[in-house]
């Protein structure tokens, strides 16, 4: 029987590629966190500037203006698009838009906390379309931690259930 490399049903990447993709998405969030003082939270069209301006975290770049979903999308774009040239698996909007509602409509849900991996996104709210999202960056003793950009003071590194309204955790890699 031939040996086949399992590919992700979400992204089509193989396991090695997925690890690299997750690492790249986490690196992006980490670069942003390290530059929090230079980032602004915005609800205007400039929230997509990170992708529009091709801000590459591998070069130490970060989005100067974003909101929660455009920030999480930018992190994933660093891995999915910049590293592997993949289309918009997060919002299905050509990497040009989206929000928690489209994030809920794409990717696949991770139901068990034990299966959560860096690069997954936590979506908060009491019901669809959700109200906030953050990207998982590390798992400590089985507990996911996220980087969340939800206010002008952010981003922040927080335990994933820092707010009580965890709606879903979804995977796009």
């Amino acid at each position: 029987m031939p040996v086949t490399t399992p590919t992700s049903a979400v992204s089509g990447l193989d396991p090695v590629q997925r690890t690299r993709c997750r690492d790249r998405a986490v690196q992006a969030a980490k670069v942003a966190l390290a530059n929090a003082a230079s980032m602004s939270y915005t609800e205007g069209p400039l929230r997509w500037s990170g992708i529009q301006d091709h801000r590459n975290a591998a070069l130490g770049q970060f989005p100067v203006t974003s909101d929660c979903s455009s920030f999480a999308t930018w992190c994933l774009w660093n891995g999915l698009f910049l590293q592997f040239g993949l289309g918009d698996l997060v919002n299905a909007d050509h990497w040009q838009g989206g929000y928690t509602g489209t994030m809920l409509q794409n990717g696949k849900q991770v139901r068990e906390i034990a299966n959560v991996l860096p690069g997954d996104c936590v979506i908060y709210g009491t019901a669809a379309p959700g109200v906030h999202t953050a990207i998982v960056t590390t798992i400590t003793n089985g507990t996911p931690y996220v980087i969340s950009h939800g206010s002008q003071a952010g981003p922040f590194f927080l335990v994933y259930d820092y707010r009580p309204d965890v709606l879903q955790i979804r995977r796009y890699i």
Binding site: A9, R47, Y99, N115, L117, I139, G154
Partner: protein
């Protein structure tokens, strides 16, 4: 779940479960977690405000 059934959830696929290389890497993480009670409230997703306006 049988192999013929579609996988609707990421964690239905056993290849995803518990990848040790990606878990418990706290030693390599340089940031301390913030106190949730000490941060400003999240302002909400701008896109949600737009579609529900």
């Amino acid at each position: 779940m049988s192999p013929e059934e579609p996988t609707d959830y990421a964690d239905d696929d056993p290849e995803y479960a518990g990848d040790p290389a990606l878990h418990d890497d706290a030693e390599a993480w340089p940031f301390a977690a913030a106190d949730p009670t000490a941060i400003p409230p999240d302002q909400g997703d701008a896109g949600v405000a737009r579609v529900t306006a």
